[in-house]
């Protein structure tokens, strides 16, 4: 793969798009393996994490059979009396391997203490992902505090400062709701996420088992937080009964069951066309490689890509895309 020609279309290579799921302002289009797109080299991110200093995390791949990828923007918010941490960049991990990541970030500003072992992870809110990614080479435990503070203020979280956990607590019910609303479909290895009719996220993983592990952290905090933000912004502008412009209401022309069936089909077709147009608008958008590979493992390489609209990371394995996580840069 050469950086000059890299596009979203290439990320979707070997996959098809499934039926759109739509709840509120968020829409999710499943990315489905058409038969040869999966990469079974990598196991799901079954990882354990601890901290020994502020600003670094010790990560272990608990799968002793297969390597894995610690997802971009993974974070650990624990109930322990410990400073929560996140990492700005993904990490390639050998089977059963350990890694010390010293470019991690504290995400709970005034909390002291070290994490003594955590498994469950979240993925940073989409609105924080590009800020985090731009500082992926920097050391400094406090490098995301300002961005978290702004994010909390915009979300109406009072006294939020650099405490991501305060946002998570304030919107706990809403975030749980996003997990409830969207369902995985057979063969799913990723999703395109639309917010208010615009593509805000492109997520692809190596295989179905990986997706089963990653989907909940992604939909709950990464994109759920964005849905909350967009709803608040539109709400302030006086919009009520929020649905995306891609959702076309039914228009029954003939007062019969056939007429309703036909209106149902037409509304779906019209919605599909609008969603397709939103996806087509980004398919051929070139993605620029941001510097040299961030990490490598065997034939797998972790690279960072960006353009005016998206920023994120990809893992290519022997020239094929195995993992991609791109978020709208201005989300």
């Amino acid at each position: 793969m050469t950086t000059a020609t890299l596009t979203v279309e290439e990320i979707l290579n070997g996959t098809s798009l499934g039926r759109t799921q739509s709840v509120g302002l968020m829409e999710v289009i499943p990315i489905i393996d058409m038969g040869s797109a999966s990469d079974e080299t990598f196991g799901p991110p079954d990882i354990s994490v601890g901290t020994s200093h502020y600003g670094s995390v010790d990560v272990q791949n608990d799968d002793r059979e297969r390597p894995t990828i610690v997802p971009t923007g993974a974070g650990w918010v624990t109930a322990q009396a410990a400073q929560d941490h996140a990492i700005p960049s993904a990490k390639l991990m050998k089977a059963g391997g350990k890694a010390h990541i010293d470019t991690a970030m504290c995400i709970e500003e005034t909390q002291g203490g070290l994490i003594r072992g955590a498994k469950d992870f979240l993925v940073l809110p989409a609105s924080l992902r590009s800020a985090a990614l731009s500082k992926r080479h920097d050391r400094g435990y406090d490098k995301l505090w300002n961005a978290i503070g702004r994010f909390n203020t915009e979300a109406g979280v009072s006294h939020g400062r650099g405490h991501l956990v305060r946002f998570l607590k304030q919107y706990e019910t809403e975030l749980d709701q996003f997990v409830a609303e969207f369902e995985m479909v057979p063969g799913q290895i990723g999703a395109m996420i639309l917010m208010n009719g615009q593509v805000v996220g492109i997520e692809r993983v190596p295989n179905v088992a990986f997706w089963e592990r990653l989907w909940e952290p992604l939909v709950r905090v990464c994109y759920g937080s964005l849905a909350i933000k967009v709803s608040r912004e539109l709400g302030k502008m006086g919009n009520t009964g929020l649905v995306p412009p891609t959702r076309v209401p039914m228009n029954v022309q003939t007062r019969s069951l056939e007429g309703i069936k036909s209106a149902l089909r037409d509304a779906r077709d019209a919605s599909d066309q609008l969603v397709e147009a939103a996806v087509d608008a980004v398919r051929d958008m070139p993605l620029i490689l941001a510097g040299a590979a961030d990490d490598s493992l065997g034939k797998a390489q972790l690279i960072t890509v960006a353009n005016t609209r998206y920023a994120g990371q990809m893992v290519t394995n022997d020239g094929r895309t195995s993992y991609a996580s791109l978020c709208a840069a201005g989300a």
Partner: protein
């Protein structure tokens, strides 16, 4: 479209309960409905969507509201068919931890409330009953749970345990928990005194000692013959192994030296003895010994099938002894046999016989989407409940049309019988139109209520259906309690009543819930009557009034 029979017959004469003070019937109806949602579906566990803590907080709130409104109504409704074990446990603890004296007496007298409590505790499986007794000692003020250590509680425990015909079996199977339960009921000091007295030979006990046994044991044992059994079992439970006469207790002692002597013991007990005293004997030996004549509960018979199959031991299992939801859960794990399939059909027909209506044609929409897989704690339970309900509803109509949404229809590897697995997204709107084309008398939608292609389209379609004059009743039956909606998730709130239901046996009370929404007082009293006829015999006299 003809509904042939049978709307629920409500007799106006039976108005046992009406709201007091300023409480409006509609508010009372809402409180009762919220309680029913909880009582018939909540397990106090996490679901696909909510944590255990969220579920439990929502559950307690609905219990509290009904108890505050009417203690009598609360007590009676706990006896309804289909109320979960978890709800019975919560209810008993609430009733026992608060004195009846302060409450306004409406239609139950104290004897009847006591009868309800005995009925409820005896309805619980033994491990749950013993866990409840343990829970009486422990409160959780933060979660609004009080302790229950009063005389009423102690009497209830002693009568339940000592007067049971299964006391000797419980004595060997649950020795530690039984000792804890008896010690809790008697208190440390009295338990110690009773134990010392029972160690003595009957003839050498003093009059005072006989008096103590009379007060602490005889009083709670109805049949004189059972008293000597109770004496020996209590002695055994507190660790005395001398001069035992009851066969099961003797077998327990003998098995420690000769494993074969324990062939009549419960499997779990014999396995414990093997692991401690016969470490060289293979693990499956206990299974082989008890397979022939051991005391194995229906639950254990089902639970050990996988192991038995691997060890090539035949453990007979009668599928008719399990409820339909449990049979489906078993079939998901072990496969669907002809025998299980036949039992499911019989159970569906039997459950349908108790359903309040019959139709010429029934439309059924079955949600088999991914979320119907349930939580890690209760895998596949929502779908198992859904399939059991489908079977039953297929029997309430002469004709039927069944439409599946999502899911993967597959054949069982051995028997080739159909068994569906949850999968995919939730598109209920198309299914509704398709089913209505067949002009059924009624449509039942079996779903957890989470729709996403897109959300709200089911309601949009139903609104259009009503707009063109199709009045076919549409009921949404939901087997999943959802904490965030303080009940069950609705699909089309003002157009299709959403009724929570855990399984076919609870559907009668669920349908009455629908009635409460329209006519609260009639509905609540119909529900009371249903509870009176399914509750303890002492309450049935009220139903005849």
């Amino acid at each position: 479209m003809t509904m042939r029979t049978t709307d629920i017959q409500i007799t106006d004469a039976l108005t046992l309960w009406s709201p007091k003070g300023n409480l409006k019937p509609t508010d009372a109806g809402e409180i009762v409905c919220s309680f029913l949602d909880t009582a018939t579906t909540s397990m106090g566990r996490a679901t696909h969507y909510n944590t255990r803590e969220e579920q439990q907080a929502a559950e307690l709130a609905s219990h509290d509201l009904l108890m505050e409104m009417s203690r009598d109504l609360y007590a009676v409704l706990l006896s309804l068919p289909g109320v979960t074990d978890r709800s019975m446990q919560v209810g008993m603890k609430k009733l026992l931890s608060t004195p009846r004296n302060g409450a306004v007496q409406e239609f139950l007298d104290p004897t009847m409330e006591r009868a309800v409590l005995y009925h409820l505790i005896q309805s619980l499986p033994v491990p749950r009953m013993l866990r409840l007794i343990e829970a009486f000692r422990v409160g959780n003020e933060e979660a609004g749970i009080k302790k229950a250590n009063n005389a009423r509680t102690r009497k209830l425990i002693l009568r339940t345990l000592l007067d049971s015909p299964r006391l000797s079996l419980w004595a060997v199977k649950y020795r530690t928990k039984m000792a804890a339960a008896l010690t809790h009921a008697w208190g440390q000091r009295t338990a110690s005194i009773v134990r010392d007295i029972l160690k003595k030979d009957g003839r050498s006990r003093t009059a005072k000692e006989r008096g103590i046994l009379s007060t602490q044991i005889d009083k709670f044992v109805e049949a004189t013959k059972q008293r000597s059994v109770a004496y020996e079992c209590v002695r055994f439970i507190f660790g005395d192994r001398d001069k035992l006469t009851l066969p099961i207790l003797k077998a327990f002692v003998a098995a420690k030296t000769d494993l074969k002597a324990g062939s009549k013991l419960p499997l779990e007990v014999l396995e414990g003895i093997r692991a401690t005293y016969h470490k060289d004997v293979p693990k499956e030996e206990a299974l082989k010994l008890t397979a022939k004549g051991g005391k194995m509960s229906a639950g254990t018979r089902m639970a050990v099938q996988k192991r038995a199959k691997a060890a090539d031991v035949e453990i007979t299992m009668d599928p008719t002894k399990y409820d339909a939801v449990r049979l489906y859960l078993y079939a998901f794990e072990m496969g669907l046999t002809e025998e299980i399939s036949a039992a499911l059909k019989t159970k569906a027909a039997r459950a349908a016989a108790g359903f309040p209506s019959r139709y010429e044609s029934v439309g059924i929409i079955v949600d088999c989407s991914a979320s119907m897989a349930g939580s890690k704690e209760q895998p596949l339970r929502p779908l198992a409940a859904t399939l059991a309900l489908r079977d039953m509803l297929e029997c309430v109509g002469e004709g039927k049309v069944v439409h599946y949404v999502g899911g993967q229809m597959g054949k069982d590897r051995d028997t080739r019988l159909d068994l569906i697995k949850p999968q995919g997204d939730t598109a209920l709107a198309d299914a509704l139109v398709d089913v209505l084309h067949y002009e059924p008398d009624v449509v039942f939608v079996l779903s957890d209520g989470y729709e996403n292609t897109p959300a709200g389209r089911f309601a949009e379609v139903l609104e259009q259906v009503r707009d063109i004059g199709i009045k076919t009743p549409v009921y949404h039956l939901n087997p999943v309690f959802a904490a965030e909606s303080k009940g069950v998730r609705e699909l089309a709130p003002s157009l299709a009543p959403t009724l929570p239901v855990k399984g076919p046996e609870a559907l009668g009370s669920t349908i009455l819930r629908g009635l409460i929404e329209n006519e609260p007082l009639k509905g609540i009293n119909a529900l009371v009557r249903m509870a009176l006829t399914s509750g303890p015999v002492e309450m049935r006299t009220l139903a005849d009034r």
